[in-house]
Symmetry: C2
Subunit: 208 residues, 2 copies
């Protein structure tokens, strides 16, 4: 049973990170805290295996290096046995190094963190590496979401729209099949279904 804690003041982001953890970890339960005192309280009450912290908490100056590192240090000292990941909105390689010295095992920039990528960070940590993920706008994302689509349909459509030019659709079907552990023909079926729905709505983006 894994126990994880997310310390982050933005409600939607905290819930999103908690959802990522739930999806990525098996047999875990995930707690969330909005402020440093709450986090300390939870860390006293219970033992955690994994803690994700955003140093920009209310009550501290998010632009002050000193304040931010103080938050990280306080959390790490309150749970010395846990794996610590720092998640931040602003990129800073120096701050990453400082967090590493404080005992953090990863430093991840929110701008570069997409859905499903947290497990990759955890794998890196498992291999004993310090995982740095800075912002990466080369792969800048442009999303479209349609309400009538099921998650699977949405997923294959997103992959199809983000594919590199020249990539065959077939290859994308195979990619989803491998990633999701399903049949490539099923992936193709979802794509067709999604396409049909968008056609009916008259909202088919270019590039089909």
């Amino acid at each position: 049973m894994h126990r994880a804690l997310v310390v982050e003041d933005q409600n939607l982001m905290r819930l999103a990170l908690m959802a990522e953890l739930r999806a990525g970890l098996r047999d875990c339960y995930v707690a969330g805290a909005q402020t440093l005192p709450m986090a300390k309280q939870l860390l006293e009450q219970d033992q955690f295996d994994l803690v994700i912290t955003d140093p920009g908490l209310p009550g501290f100056d998010p632009t002050s290096r000193h304040d931010r590192l103080h938050v990280v240090e306080t959390i790490i000292e309150a749970a010395p046995g846990a794996v610590h990941i720092v998640v931040t909105g602003s990129d800073d390689e120096e701050e990453a190094s400082a967090c590493r010295l404080l005992g953090a095992r990863a430093y991840v920039c929110k701008t570069g963190l997409s859905q499903g990528e947290l497990p990759l960070v955890l794998e890196q940590i498992d291999r004993g590496e310090f995982s740095i993920q800075l912002s990466d706008l080369d792969t800048a994302q442009l999303d479209l979401r349609f309400p009538t689509l099921t998650p699977r349909e949405d997923e294959i459509l997103a992959m199809m729209m983000h594919r590199n030019t020249g990539t065959k659709r077939r290859a994308v079907f195979q990619e989803l099949a491998t990633k999701a552990g399903i049949n490539a023909a099923s992936a193709e079926r979802y794509y067709k279904q999604a396409r049909a729905k968008l056609l009916k709505l008259g909202r088919l983006p270019e590039g089909l």
Copy 2:
């Protein structure tokens, strides 16, 4: 058919905001852009009814008042017919006023924005008001999420844990029943189911 655009560089937050819109609006489709050029491109291609913008985009200094307002102004000028909501990580009442002068209809702080609250902002806008939502840590949240629980079970548990002391469980069942449009007995059933699952895991929080 409502068309909405979310301009936000943090992937998880953008997806969360897009999910909020999908849940809150009927018959809509939602696009997302990670950078200002992408947003401008989308706004040229298509007409949007609603645009949500985070002024702290990559390529601009998030601490610079000038840069942030420039982003807001650029977006609003690119879609003068749309309703504009500014969503920001850092609280600032002066910035809120400046955004209002630029034509924004709401200024919302991420720290104070919980799941399901975006519809309230939209209602305020519909009534012609300028909606300001600054950070509110009086109702600071402490969340627990358990992986084996279904969304409904999670929901009723969260409501139960956040209830005011002295409130009867019955009252909470009624509250969920009203909010979700279901039977109070059903709400009770979900609570019991959730409780049973946590008991089996030996992870029942205090306060049952």
